[in-house]
């Protein structure tokens, strides 16, 4: 008994040592700035005004600002729509790449291409594709006679929303597909053979075997993607700048605009809201995904 007791404390010590580098980096480079941001959100921190403690006044202002709600609404809609499309395409690609195919290795490299190109650059490519006067999308639309007027992709709020979603889905579907592929290839192929013998068709097999067994990985993939999507910044910043009319202004863009205008307190309050929204989302996922059980 005594021996095992000292063993435990040794084990704990080793464990903490092992976790130290990771925790130190996270504390110094994330936790400290985060706490700073939370403190700032309680202050009047405007570059051209004297600093003053406001308690929750920034938050009150935020909750009475129409544009904050529009921004929140856009962000949530964006997360739901784009992550759904990413899920559908990602799952389709994962299923495909899990099959025996000619050139499978090549395809597995190809699918990573969108993810490798930095957003700041691929957003530029999309900007060119959506261009009103000489973009390929409008060229195709006009040539095929779908419409006799070019579409103002980035100039109308609906067009801009679609444009942002398309670019984001393109960019991040590969990530989804790769993560889901890991789950798929872990499913024992004997299960499928057995089910086939039992006379099921491939749709039944998908819903009875694939989907249930894929669920833990699916939840993880959704979690990572949703957290990323709710913070979306680069893509929108380069592609639409939040316009037109603030219709694609995500919460991060909304916060950024206040930082640029010099109101750090208010910008920080918005950031804290993004953090809380992402937190809430992941609590839901973790609850439904039984993340804890998976770890134990």
């Amino acid at each position: 008994m005594e021996r095992s007791k000292t063993n435990i404390s040794d084990e704990t010590k080793t464990a903490y040592l092992f976790n130290a580098p990771l925790i130190i980096v996270a504390v110094v480079f994330v936790l400290v700035p985060v706490i700073g941001t939370i403190v700032t959100s309680l202050m009047r921190d405007v570059t051209f005004l004297p600093e003053k403690f406001l308690a929750v006044e920034n938050y009150q202002r935020l909750f009475s600002d129409r544009h904050f709600y529009e921004s929140l609404q856009f962000t949530l809609l964006f997360v739901v729509v784009s992550v759904s499309f990413e899920l559908v395409f990602g799952l389709a690609f994962a299923l495909l790449l899990n099959e025996t195919l000619p050139f499978r290795g090549f395809l597995r490299v190809v699918i990573l291409i969108p993810w490798v190109i930095p957003i700041a650059i691929s957003a530029r490519v999309w900007e060119l594709i959506y261009n009103f006067n000489y973009g390929i999308f409008n060229y195709i639309i006009l040539q095929l006679g779908i419409s006799d007027q070019p579409v103002s992709w980035l100039g109308s709020s609906v067009g801009a929303f679609i444009a942002v979603v398309i670019s984001d889905v393109w960019k991040t579907t590969p990530f989804m597909a790769i993560i889901l592929l890991t789950g798929l290839s872990a499913i024992n192929s004997d299960l499928y053979k057995q089910a086939k013998v039992d006379g099921t068709n491939f749709l039944q097999r998908f819903f009875m075997i694939t989907l249930p067994l894929l669920k833990p990985v699916l939840i993880v993939a959704l979690l990572f993607r949703s957290i990323d999507a709710i913070r979306i910044f680069d893509l929108i910043y380069v592609l639409t700048g939040g316009g037109p009319g603030g219709s694609t202004s995500s919460l991060s863009i909304y916060a950024f605009n206040y930082y640029v205008s010099g109101d750090f307190g208010y910008g920080s309050a918005v950031s804290v809201i993004v953090f809380l929204a992402a937190g809430l989302l992941s609590v839901l996922y973790i609850k439904f995904g039984k993340f804890r059980e998976t770890l134990q």
């Binding site: 570059t47 051209f48 202002r61 980035l154 100039g155 700048g241 930082y259 640029v260 205008s261």
Partner: protein
């Protein structure tokens, strides 16, 4: 194994810190400038010459080109009271905020000590943006205004009033559309971005209107309603400006349309002149340039743009920084700037240079326009006001709301902003 491994890891770590933490000598000081590679090339040359001439160690730190990103990086380091940058270029609309945030070193003492004269500069410009409470905080390095470009092969006499511009546009547009379907009468900046505030201000001010006077909101006036109505009508009633004016049209979109030969008139900044007359331009040699039109009974105005140099309050090398301000605003360097990158000098006397006048015929016109330029509201919360104007004016141009409502909405939102940020 254990010890060896940790040694390697810690060595790797240490090398990261030593690597690149270049020897920060004490006499180093820095200037932050953004721009395209060509523009930065020019600045590099200016700085090298300066360092050689005065035996200094000024370092050029390259900022992004996007105005917002440039401002954000400056705000963050100034708010953090960093010693760097010592010097930086500011867009005219930032200067007031920077002054009121107490980030800029007043230049008066330096000027007195070194017998520096402000007379060669445009007095109007200095008073509009560079001076505050009788102190000088910045000096113009390069200035910009908007002009009216027109096709000399299609019309003889440029219009003086907006009304004439509309009439000419209607007539020529009808003629030209027989052969060129994408021809438009007048292209200008109407997309939702900072440029829209500039064109909006020109329309209202050339009808005697304004946005803000001494912190009181003047936006909802009948002059402004009429001017905004005219802007909307250009697109929707007279149809001389294309549908995408309020969705796509920024400087470059406007310039390209005109340069392709698809427009009779163009509102744009001075940079377009050189490009319109470049070899791959469809309108080379067929372009005229003049002051913007005005409404009947009022005067033409043009919004002031451009970049001014200022010195950080937190600089630890102020004497040398002042030396560079003097250098960069000197006659020689300013002249060199026009010749190399085609930027309009911030000094008035350069516009009288004989050699330059021979090469660049537009200098007389520009000098006149700079003497009659107007500034966007000089308040520290300009960014917020600009956002409100952009959004509502753009909505109006899109024909979603009538001018009366747009201006009423701007008035309400502006008053709200002043309530939050207007405290002294």
């Amino acid at each position: 194994m254990n010890v060896k491994l940790w040694t390697i890891i810690s060595l790797l770590f240490m090398s990261l810190f030593v690597f690149n933490s270049c020897s920060e000598k004490d006499d180093n000081f820095s200037i932050w400038i953004g721009g395209s590679p060509e523009e930065v090339d020019f600045w590099e040359k200016v700085i090298n010459d300066f360092n050689a001439k005065y035996d200094c160690n000024l370092i050029l730190v390259r900022q992004p080109t996007y105005t917002d990103q440039r401002k954000q990086s400056l705000i963050i380091s100034l708010e953090g009271k960093q010693q760097n940058p010592d010097l930086f270029l500011m867009d005219v609309v930032w200067i007031n905020q920077f002054i009121q945030s107490d980030w800029l070193e007043p230049l008066d003492d330096f000027a007195v000590k070194s017998k520096f004269k402000t007379e060669p500069f445009f007095k109007r410009v200095l008073n509009l943006v560079d001076k505050y409470d009788d102190n000088l905080f910045a000096l113009p390095v390069f200035m910009d205004v908007a002009l009216l470009y027109y096709r000399t092969d299609l019309i003889v006499q440029p219009p003086e009033t907006w009304e004439q511009l509309k009439e000419l546009s209607l007539r020529i547009q009808e003629e030209q559309r027989k052969t060129n379907k994408s021809f438009d009468g007048f292209v200008w900046q109407g997309a939702q971005y900072e440029g829209l505030v500039c064109s909006f201000l020109e329309f209202i001010a050339s009808n005697g209107g304004s946005i803000l006077q001494n912190d009181s909101v003047k936006i909802n006036s009948k002059e402004n309603i009429a001017a905004l109505q005219f802007m909307q009508d250009l697109i929707h009633k007279y149809k001389v400006s294309p549908e995408n004016t309020y969705t796509e049209m920024k400087e470059e979109e406007v310039r390209r349309e005109f340069q392709k030969g698809n427009a009779l008139f163009e509102r744009n900044w001075t940079y377009a002149w050189q490009l319109h007359n470049s070899n791959d331009s469809n309108v080379k040699g067929k372009v005229g340039m003049t002051i913007l039109p005005h409404f009947k009974g009022h005067n033409s105005v043009s919004t002031l743009g451009g970049w001014h140099i200022g010195m950080s309050k937190y600089s630890d090398n102020k004497e040398k920084a002042w030396q560079f301000i003097k250098y960069v605003t000197s006659y020689e360097v300013q002249k060199q700037m026009v010749l190399t990158i085609g930027w309009n000098p911030g000094r008035k006397d350069v516009y009288e240079d004989k050699e330059l006048k021979k090469k660049l015929s537009q200098l007389n016109l520009l000098e006149y326009v700079f003497d009659n330029t107007i500034a966007r509201p000089t308040v520290p919360y300009y960014t917020q006001i600009s956002e409100v104007i952009q959004r509502n004016v753009n909505n109006c141009l899109a024909n979603k709301i009538p001018p009366v409502e747009a201006l009423k909405e701007i008035e309400i939102e502006m008053k709200n902003i002043i309530k939050i940020y207007g405290e002294k």
